[in-house]
Symmetry: none
DNA sequence: TATGAATGAGTCTTCATTCAT
DNA sequence: CATGAATGAAGACTCATTCAT
């Protein structure tokens, strides 16, 4: 029950923040969209920043769970990355607002104590790094700098999304996975 | 004299906004950085929004002037685009803060009446479009949709910068021009 | 509940504005007098101007309601006007601060878009005009220009109050109704 | 020469203040109207308040001078008052803006240390009082309270002007002198 | 004397957050 | 848990006043 309300707030926040931007969004706006009173939000979140943090945390943990699940499928590194990207981009096509928030508001914490978002992103990057390390160990990919590769891979995802959201069409989100894989083609043996 | 002060404000604003983000920046911060009183800023700008608008306007007009100058050199379309990108990326390497502002804060006007920034960007895109049209007329490039190409070209510039600013190194800004030209290689006859 | 707070703000504002004048009054002053926080005022009024507008609107609508009630009593025009004035001047004797505000601050909207105050005053004048028209139709008063008469009548009310507030004594507010009736004596048949 | 500039500022201030009200008038507005720089005003006046004070002082002293001149003509009290009023109302008909300022802005000093305006007004009232005292001594008027009479006389002048400025026509300023004299008719023996 | 750019104290207004119901 | 009125700190903006030229 309680989780339903928290999810409702999260979804409402994604919508409003996607439309207005985090700084232009008032807690009242989120409450209105969620058809709740402002006070109610504070029963689930301690601050406005935490609402945004939670959006990132929630989505990043889904990605990490996705990675964990894929790991059990014993796929080749290439197929692994392809499947991960497919899932990620599918989610964003289904919910472009989420993409807008994840890409545009990631910088909000600059000059704030709150680096929970960055920590979450780094956890995700760490998991990607592990994939590359494993690929190297399995001799599927060349002996590259796995950390740098993970950062680059993550950055590309962001770039494609940013680009796709700028474009009038959202086509880019369909071709995104292949586009990214092509850019790292040279690392595969 | 007056223009010196306005330029000082513009430069101070770029620095502070790059560091803190537009919404986290107070007028007092800009004034402090420019070693001026807040009131002085309002002798040159009517609002905080206008300060940011002016940064975009100023830089975009420089780019447009750059395009006009290059036009007089009667270069091939490929060399024209390469030179334009070289200038642009050189400026950003010399002043990364400017890049950060131009890329990260371009969305600030969402949900605001103020779309001066977007208008300025569209003017620049229009100029790029003219270049592609001319290239088609001179039979240097294939018969593509010039407008779409211009949008894509502009989007790529943004993407590279975003990516470069995310990376710890700024190397990307060196290779950026070639990177972009390579992505549109297929349009040249 | 909510209306209680709004009324408290209205009353506090009348007191402070009567003492200091609208332009010398700070929102903080009104809040202090009402024993509320400044922010609370903005839960009921969108701006400082609107607080003043509301004072006028509120009082003018009371006068209009007073006229409507008197109309049902089927009085002669002379007695009607006398009773209306009696009520009005009694209110001001009971709350001289209100008189001060209504008379002194009516001009605040000059050079402002906000002419709500003037619109409200004109509504009241229109009701007075109707009274005169009715008097003419009932052959109780001469065939005068009803609109001009209403304006004059209203102006006299204002004049008496202004005068009374200048005088050390407030006696004028007692004799006011008769004073005004005497000045329009010639219109009665 | 210097006095010409000071007069220019005074006249410009009367115009702007009549149109916008004292509180809505900025020093820059006065400077613009006078076709001078703001700084110049401060060579002649020490503050914004002082500009308004000066307008009152200047006009009140003219009235006092007018009274002094009339005194030398050895007129009857009635004719004296009539002539004084004629002059005053003629001036206002010629310069209605002046009337607007004198009537509407007389209250600005409330809650301010600055009561120079009130002092000047009281000086004028004192002179009027002397006229009534003299009239009593010359047995031309009844043994009334001269001070109260002067206050009433002065208040009537203000009232008429306020009324005349509210009315669409300015006719009232023509009949004003007679109107006032009639109201104090009973004091003459 | 005239100028007008620079100053910063003073206010309005916003909005995240609290808390009594 | 839900509510939404009350709170007040924070920040944009104004404008009288100063002063170097």
């Amino acid at each position: 029950m309680a989780q339903e309300t928290k999810a409702r707030i999260r979804k409402a926040a994604i919508e409003v923040i996607a439309e207005e931007g985090f700084f232009n969004t008032r807690m009242q706006d989120i409450a209105d969209r969620a058809q709740l009173a402002v006070g109610t939000i504070y029963n689930y979140f301690s601050s406005k920043d935490e609402v945004l943090s939670y959006i990132f945390k929630y989505e990043i943990q889904r990605r990490m769970k996705s990675i964990s699940e894929l790991k059990e499928q014993k796929l080749s590194t290439r197929r692994f990355l392809k499947k991960f990207l497919d899932r990620h981009f599918l989610t964003l096509r289904e919910n472009p607002n989420l993409g807008r928030v994840l890409v545009r508001e990631k910088e909000f914490s600059r000059a704030k104590d709150n680096n929970e978002i960055k920590e979450n992103m780094n956890s995700l990057i760490k998991m990607l790094e592990d994939i590359f390390v494993e690929g190297i160990n399995k001799a599927e990919i060349k002996d590259i700098n796995a950390h740098l590769m993970a950062v680059y891979f993550f950055g590309s995802m962001q770039g494609i999304i940013e680009f796709a959201l700028t474009e009038p069409e959202i086509e880019m989100l369909v071709d995104g996975p292949d586009f990214i894989i092509k850019r790292i083609e040279h690392i595969f043996k």
